[in-house]
Amino acid sequence: MTRSTGTVKAGGREVTRAEVEDFLYEEADILDAWRYDDWLALFEPGARFEVPATDWKGESAFASGSFVTDDWDLLRARVKRLKSRKAHAENPPSRTHRMVTNVRLHEHDDPALLRVTAAFLIHRARDGEFDPYAGRYDHLLVVDGEGLRFRLRRAVLGHELLRPGGRLSFIL
């Protein structure tokens, strides 16, 4: 499950790093443009979104506290909330600027799936502050003939303490 190469076989076809990079770059653009419906469309129904706590040591989201552990219902509630004028912590919305790099593809025991790791650096501007958020992505993607979808989207923060503004109200 852990071999990382430029190309892996998943969902009955070859997936290239370029295809995965395009998928992640597209996602970054969507989020930076606050197109939350388009963002949700990148998930398969039933998918999850997780942001573990900064002292995470690999426990399941149920065995340990975390910042975000959204099942499909909560993920949709989050998107609905972010689109609302009453999501005060994101009204006006934060400006974000995302960089995604170090993209690596890993085979998965389930032949329909692909594990993708990448590094992220997000800058967030809000209320006269400009804060960096750094970490890595550890995603599970479903592959089909059409393209890629998130089954699990996990952003693991690299911070010891989340100093820049406690409001993780935007999507990491």
Binding site: V51, P52, A53, T54, D55, W56, K57, E59, A61, F62, A63, S64, G65, S66, F67, V68, T69, D70, D71, L74, A77, R78, K80, R81, S84, K86, A87, H88, A89, E90, D127, E129, E160, L161, L162, R163, P164, G165, G166, R167, L168, S169, L172
Partner: protein
């Protein structure tokens, strides 16, 4: 803008008017580094502070490092099983001794000159000890790790004090103590802190975090999107029968009965049918174990308990512990843990974690708006700093004051718990003279309640 250097305390920090029924707090109290220093010296250095939960150092030799009132600490269980807290500084020349956040060790070794200490504080080794020979055993004794002057544990909650002369912990906790007992009683097997700490920092004064927790008034407007989510899952939040209590010593309590379900104690539709069955079974067990009256207090009411000055217990759908560490007048480091029943079955645990995390913490659906609110206060209160017109630079906390006169129990959607907090705060920082009261205080404020 910081206040001008060397500015003295304003002579009116709190203005309480029993004729006009108003209660106002000088916004200087949230901005001033001088007040911050005074709080460090008078509150953090002189009262009991919440350090952590016993189960965070469950095994002998387990340790964690923590900071309270700006002082680095080692929180550990020694090889014999005793819970201890040491100042995390080498007795030799002051180096931070333990530079890991957590782990397990019998010995702490300072990297600077390699002095080594046992986890009960004894000196284990000093390289080249013969150079201190003339000083004898007394020297080794004087070089023991420095313990915090006081450490006491109530229901697994570990408190420390930097002042040896604080009263016994139970006396200090007063009426707050029983609400902590009620938490332990929720499950026969007791509770434990789970791994995965929410560690974050907010750009707001610590007192704003306390006020926000005691402020039921903000719930509907601030958490509009969360209330909407609850409504869609089949639960309507109400403000009925929700009360605020001042428990004395600065501690306060909200009792919330219209707030929502409680995992394994009070079912609501979003928890699902399996949980309904589990809740019924658990409730029967509680009735048996605690008696129906006590079980009702433990299970049917949600509580938000504030233990002055740095502990908030959110006993809601699930249980979160939140610890406040003021880092500067305008910045607070927050640490939050989930407290869960030992040996809980997997499905309940999964439901608990999903439910709690969806509400609390900076990535939840509700807490970000709270943080937005008090960070916005911190920015907004600069507007009137130094305003020469009288009364401009004050925040109003009069809501529900008329009930205090009538002797009616204050509601959670009023500001009585905040007033209680501020009345205690001003005594605690030794500035009682800066509370300007007009008119006679009513005979009795309603405080505490008997649940025993």
């Amino acid at each position: 803008m910081p206040e001008p250097q060397g500015a003295s305390l304003p002579d009116r920090l709190i203005v309480e008017d029993w004729d006009g029924l108003t209660f106002r707090v000088n916004r200087f109290a949230y901005r001033s580094e001088e007040i911050f220093e005074r709080e460090r010296a008078h509150i953090w250095a002189r009262t009991w502070l919440y350090l952590g939960h016993e189960t965070e150092v469950a095994e002998p030799n387990a340790f964690r490092t923590r900071v309270l009132g700006g002082r680095p600490l080692i929180f550990c269980r020694d090889s014999d099983g005793t819970v201890r807290a040491f100042l995390n500084a080498c007795p030799h020349r002051g180096t931070v001794l333990c530079r890991e956040n957590e782990g397990s060790t019998k010995l702490f070794q300072c990297f600077y000159h390699a002095w080594t200490f046992r986890n009960n504080g004894d000196v284990a080794a000093i390289p080249g000890k013969d150079a201190y020979e003339a000083a004898g055993e007394g020297f080794l004794d004087s070089m023991r790790l420095r313990s915090v002057p006081r450490l006491e544990i109530h229901e697994g909650f570990v408190f420390v004090a930097f002042d040896p002369d604080v009263p016994p912990l139970l006396e200090y906790l007063g009426d707050a103590a029983d609400y902590m007992t009620m938490i332990r009683e929720q499950h026969a097997a007791g509770m434990e802190v789970l791994p995965g700490t929410q560690l974050y920092s907010v750009r707001g004064n610590w007192k704003l975090a306390v006020e926000n927790a005691m402020d039921g008034y903000h719930f509907s407007p601030t958490h509009n999107t969360f209330v909407g989510y609850l409504r869609e899952t089949g639960f309507a939040v109400t403000d009925d029968d929700q009360y605020a209590y001042n428990l004395g010593n600065g501690h306060s309590l909200l009792v919330l009965t219209g707030h929502g379900g409680r995992i394994s104690m009070l079912w609501e539709p979003r928890f699902g049918e399996d949980e309904k069955r589990r809740t019924e079974a658990h409730r029967a067990e509680m009735d048996e174990r605690l008696g129906p009256e006590r079980a009702r207090y433990v299970a049917d009411e949600s509580h938000i308990l504030f233990v002055f000055p740095n502990l908030l217990l959110f006993d809601l759908e699930g249980l979160s512990i939140r610890q406040l560490e003021p880092a500067a007048a305008g910045r607070t480091d927050v640490r939050a843990w989930q407290l869960a029943p030992r040996g809980e079955d997997e499905d309940t645990r999964a439901l608990r974690m999903k439910t709690m995390v969806s509400f609390v913490g900076p990535g939840g659906l509700a807490t970000p708006d709270d943080i937005e609110a008090y960070e916005a206060v911190q920015r907004g209160i600069e507007a009137t700093a130094g305003d020469p017109r009288p009364g401009m630079d004050f925040s109003d906390m009069s809501r529900g004051m008329v009930d205090e006169v009538k002797g009616v129990q204050g509601r959670s959607i009023d500001e009585g718990a905040m007033r209680g907090f501020w009345r205690h705060w001003i005594k605690a920082i030794g500035a009682e003279d800066a509370l300007a009261a007009t008119g006679p205080r009513p005979a009795a404020f309603l405080e505490g309640r008997n649940v025993r």
